[in-house]
Symmetry: C2
Subunit: 163 residues, 2 copies
């Protein structure tokens, strides 16, 4: 019943990136946050695909750019982008992916394909509710919810043996 979401659906990814960057500019302006050239470039790199990118991968590209970058350059940019909800860190991969719900308050749920590495971010209200209920039952006060699901995406399921 549901249309398959990006990145599983073929899409114009250049437009995808352009939109993400435009949204980011709007969000930062609204918040008086400075989307400096380095930060914007890092965001753009993270958005190069729907596959998570490691901090040192970002660093390598910045270096190719001619940018005189060191690890803190990248981590600081990533911190900024995370704080403003523009990228997410995927803890199980030590890598970063662009947020597809930027601007809205949310705790994403990530479907991570172990074969092609694409990541789909969902907002699943029922999951969020169930997690919240389970925490409440233990009198636990949740602040940050991380849900990462590894498996096979639709495309890779078909290629895989034994269905």
């Amino acid at each position: 019943m549901s249309t398959s979401a990006l990145p599983y659906r073929p899409h114009n990814h250049d437009a995808c990136v352009a939109q993400a960057l435009a949204d980011a500019r709007a969000i930062c302006q609204q918040r008086n946050a400075r989307l400096t050239p380095t930060r914007e470039r890092v965001l753009e790199l993270i958005w190069q695909s729907h596959k998570p990118l490691g901090a040192y991968d970002v660093l390598a590209v910045l270096t190719e750019d001619g940018h005189n970058a060191a690890p803190p350059t990248v981590y600081r940019a990533l911190d900024f982008l995370q704080q403003h909800g523009l990228v997410h860190r995927i803890a199980s991969l030590n890598a970063f992916v662009g947020c597809t719900h930027a601007g809205k308050h949310h705790n994403g749920m990530f479907l991570i394909c172990r074969s092609c590495s694409n990541v789909l971010e969902l907002t699943a209200p029922k999951v969020a509710q169930a997690v919240s209920d389970a925490a409440s039952a233990e009198a636990f006060q949740p602040e940050d919810v991380m849900i990462e699901v590894a498996g096979l995406c639709p495309a890779c399921r078909m290629d895989a043996p034994h269905d």
Copy 2:
């Protein structure tokens, strides 16, 4: 309506550890897996508390023990213990915690207190179902589900300001 689970409830933790070790021996015997002295010692160390322990923390204790240990010693033992469902890795902390549901097939959900570091592992069928449904809606085939909730445990909520 639910009784608060370990580790939030005061309990005889020595018995807690003893039980975990006994279970581990039984599980390994049943599987013809060898719970060697190093592996058992690492499991015991992980169980020293309900707080996650880093691999290098384990290593330090092994070294104190007089054991001539290097990082691979610890990581190999931890791999073994994970494969047999005796410990879990908490990705958001790069640390390991004893499994409180050893032997049963399960994907735990972890409530991690940011104040006291205690971790409570739950099996939340409703959460599991909701995650599974959300994945199915995207034709995604889940293999490994990681749910880590950071926040405040009951005890630390009371100490904290602003409730």
